[in-house]
Point group: C2
Chain length 195, copies 2
């Protein structure tokens, strides 16, 4: 399916709910008939890259750019990329925005205290104990987006509620052709009148 290309880029602290939101956005877009690919930086590090990639400023930057490159190739072939990556540096995200042109930045702005409290992977505890270095939010900075297209507090919104907000933003931006909502029942009277 061909459509105007754009990239959804979810940035935020570790544990902010980026992966869950990416999954919910992908499901919502698939449900509308779009081709979607999730580029989950954390899962990619843990699987294909085999934790071979480190967390220096330099490695984070090049890794984010690699995702952007993949996203660009997907989007120009009619597939919507949904990137979930801490992507903590403003300069990196700015470079990617310029490279991609159509860039929907979604800030998973869950409060740090909530991320620490959830700590789904136990990484915050280890970082705060000094056992993990270069951890975003502890000893590595998170430079929050100043004007993201969407900002969501995933401490109060469910992934599905967040995804609904992302899709509304996409429609407002004109990136999604408006389609009959799959939730809307068919208009039986209108159909019957044509029989």
């Amino acid at each position: 399916m061909q459509q105007e290309g754009f990239t959804i880029w979810i940035t935020g602290l570790p544990g902010a709910g980026k992966s869950s939101l990416a999954g919910a956005v992908a499901a919502a877009l698939s449900g509308r008939g779009f081709a979607v690919e999730v580029i989950d930086s954390g899962k990619l590090r843990a699987s294909l890259l085999g934790n071979a990639l480190g967390f220096s400023r330099h490695e984070r930057h090049t890794n984010n750019l690699q995702h952007a490159f993949a996203a660009k190739m997907l989007s120009r072939n009619g597939v919507i990329p949904v990137v979930a990556a801490v992507s903590p540096y403003r300069a990196t995200r700015r470079a990617i925005r310029e490279a991609l042109g159509t860039f929907v930045e979604v800030h998973a702005a869950t409060e740090k205290a909530v991320c620490i409290d959830r700590d789904t992977k136990g990484l915050w505890a280890r970082a705060l104990a000094g056992e993990v270095q270069s951890f975003t939010g502890v000893d590595d900075p998170y430079e929050a987006p100043q004007e993201p297209e969407v900002r969501l507090d995933l401490g109060t919104l469910s992934p599905q509620e967040g995804a609904a907000e992302v899709l509304r933003a996409l429609e407002t931006l004109g990136y999604l052709a408006r389609r009959p909502d799959a939730e809307d029942p068919p208009d039986i009277d209108a159909i019957a009148s044509q029989l």
Copy 2:
């Protein structure tokens, strides 16, 4: 356009003619109506990555894996990825073959003397003079494929001739549905008999 997914992976020494071959293969496949994307490691390093990525064993390995990840997402969405990358390590290529499943390894087996003689980017001269470190073929190893799907000497074949061999291999492997060759003239008699 949906078709069975596969990845064309061109490996070889610097200056072996990988980029030119990738361009010719992409043109030939586009001419047959396939969606194609070239992932040119050298061009990517020089543009988007801004030469930020180095040439350590580790960086080469993770960079190749990033290309494989992008290729996988493209191929499962009906786009044929054509990767051109020195990708000098056998273990890396083996890992990628396993991750991708359908992997067409093309060894650009141009003789080293020819690569040095062409030296299109002037890099061989600098590496041989000791001005560039970690250069494949000089002070970093190139581990040639033992059983590539295709092996081409691009010192004697043109990119177009090489591309024709790659396409023949793809057909033999069953990755391309046989189509009327665009070179074949239409059968006027057969058409006329149906008028």
